[in-house]
Symmetry: C2
Subunit: 396 residues, 2 copies
């Protein structure tokens, strides 16, 4: 074997979601793109906001090549980091300055930097199911181990009752993904306050900080007036992680950041290590043009209604067809309970109708399928007849 | 300590080059930008080629948002990978197809993907001094250890006589950086052919492939008609690594690729693992807009003369002033032998004249300073008086 010991299994069990996405592309070649209902990937279909396009043009016109496309500090452009700090301070009554912000290659890049900065082999990272399957790989890159708190069904709130048992001296951090992928649940302020109590108690017991990694790329996708609490305002040792992939429809551009409050324990050590990690992991810096773009687009977002009408249509139709659907409050995913014990059976039946859904097994929460409704409304409308046939096949 | 065990020393000994760069920025604030002669960083000053700018505008105008800024396959856009394969095949008589190309977040990203894919803790990576100091960190991210072949002074060719002793069963790969940063040396075809003989012999002895990582971001920067041999055409188990940072002046955009020939041992395993590494290290994919841009800019390069006149002016002036200068054949760096035993003394004397040069200690080759002449010609002209004063201070 020419590859490293743990890569073989990683390749074999490679991202189920990505595989389905690529399967969908092949299916489209065979039966035509308009006849495939691909709900596999969180690849946002909402157009890029006009302000972003204007910013691209303005930045290219107003600056020298070497400024726009050249190296800057590893942590990112000062102007961008200042703009983000200001935005967070205004929005969430925080006290960040530019030095507290590190521009990253998306949220995934931020998470890798953090893990490289804090994990020793054998250290543990706690997640709440259902969780984004890649967290496990991100931690494993640096010898870290994911410890999973089982899901809280059917509420899908954080299962705090089982958290305390999962924390020990090896625990370095806890990931909170709010709104949650894949459940669409928004964890409310009360839950986060309870979490804070548990964390403060645990930190005393284990004798070191327990960082809360707030993975919030879906923050602005909150429906029906739902409010997503800003965790770093509640829990001191929080690292805020953000990406513009979803709210500006820029997933391919790999642009995001992390923010660390000066009040956090070990601030100086931690921010220094994260910036070094950003460099030595080979990112060097977040892509330069889009750093400047998002610096000018703070507070800009895609049209929420674009996803909300998808959410409503799918939720209503699938419920009407007799499926048990978890009503999403945020993000752009929807969980459907599998009518069969093994949800893979449900996934396969879906594929026969050219509906591509993802089993929630890799999210640590078997028994459901995830439907990513960040797609064109028309595709959803076209898919409804296929869902009707699927319901029939499932004996609904 | 809240950070991981090896990060403290990494932060303390953080990139000397980056520190000098940031020191230069501060110096500029104090005495004015035009009075600081910053030769620290390989941040290319040559304008971005017109063709690149046109490509940006065309791509934004001709495609949907979700194509330009959305997710694609983790390995990159098919159109870009095809264009690169075609270009390499035409230029170097190779036989690549799109599947052999993986788009990466620069060459640094490519190298991290490769190391993640092949290194087990304790594995060894051989480099020839002088070498880019970050290689050590890239390998260390995955528990790899850098083994250094000492420099061959004053020729600065690959020191092949000492290579064989450095190879053992733990050796996984050898990095060749051609043209070399910092020496500016182009390793000729004859050297690479000799390297091939040693590698073939060594592979028999150790019983597994020895991959040659061809780190070639400076390939097109070859002066006086110099030819940079294409190593994968000579050595079977080569992984070609390229970045558009230097030849298209896009370092901040983080765009590059790697190419693996199907003839390489373990091709399938390796390419699969590298694509997974690209995903799980959090890159996910190389930045999408610039993937499309470089797909349309194969064979485009910056004006070689932009750097060549810098090279000539500095080489001639510094030689005239009595310094011992290694004449660069490629890249945009120039080595000057320190007039003092400890070259840090020379670096400090330079700073007094607001000349920022980098000690070659971190390149595994003490006794020299590196001057990055990828700067404006006018800055070099302005710096000459400062170099005169420096020469005087050095007793020249």
């Amino acid at each position: 074997m020419v590859i490293s010991n743990d890569m073989a299994s990683l390749v074999a069990g490679s991202s189920v979601i990505r595989k389905l996405f690529e399967e969908g592309l092949k299916m489209a070649e065979a039966v035509g793109k308009e006849n495939v209902y691909d709900f596999s990937l969180g690849n946002p279909a909402s157009p890029v906001p006009k302000k972003v396009k204007e910013a691209i043009n303005e930045i290219l016109a107003e600056n020298t090549d070497s400024y726009v496309h050249g190296y800057m500090k590893n942590a990112g452009f000062d102007e961008t980091r200042s703009a983000i700090a200001k935005y967070l301070n205004t929005s969430f009554d925080m006290n960040y300055d530019a030095n507290d912000i590190v521009m990253t290659v998306g949220a995934a890049g931020a998470m890798n930097c953090i893990f490289r900065a804090i994990l020793n082999p054998g250290d543990e990272v706690v997640v709440f199911a259902p969780y984004f399957g890649e967290y496990k790989n991100y931690a494993a890159n640096y010898g870290g181990k994911l410890v999973v708190v089982p899901p809280n069904i059917p509420e899908f709130d954080l299962n705090l009752d089982e958290l305390e048992d999962k924390i020990n001296v090896n625990t370095k951090c806890i990931i909170i993904n709010n709104p949650n992928n894949p459940s669409g649940r928004i964890y409310p302020k009360e839950t986060i306050e309870k979490l804070n109590e548990i964390v403060l108690r645990a930190e005393k017991n284990i004798g070191h900080p327990l960082y809360i990694l707030c993975d919030e790329p879906y923050r602005e996708l909150a429906y029906d007036g739902g409010v997503v609490p800003y965790i770093p305002a509640i829990i001191k040792n929080s690292i805020y992680i953000y990406s513009y992939s979803k709210t500006l429809s820029l997933p391919g551009e790999r642009i995001g950041y992390l923010a660390l409050s000066k009040e956090a324990d070990g601030y100086e050590e931690l921010i220094g290590a994260i910036v070094v990690a950003n460099r030595i992991l080979g990112y060097v810096n977040a892509p330069s043009l889009f750093q400047l773009v998002i610096g000018r687009c703070q507070g800009v977002g895609v049209d929420l209604d674009f996803y909300d009408r998808n959410r409503k249509l799918l939720y209503e139709k699938l419920t009407e067809l007799g499926f048990e659907v978890v009503k999403p409050e945020g993000a752009f995913y929807l969980l459907v309970k599998s009518p069969f014990e093994d949800e893979e059976e449900f996934v396969e039946l879906g594929k026969k109708q050219h509906i591509i859904m993802v089993s929630t097994k890799t999210f640590g929460c078997p028994g459901y399928v995830r439907i990513a409704y960040c797609v064109d409304y028309d595709m959803i409308k076209r898919s409804l007849a296929a869902f009707e046939r699927l319901a029939e096949e499932c004996g609904k």
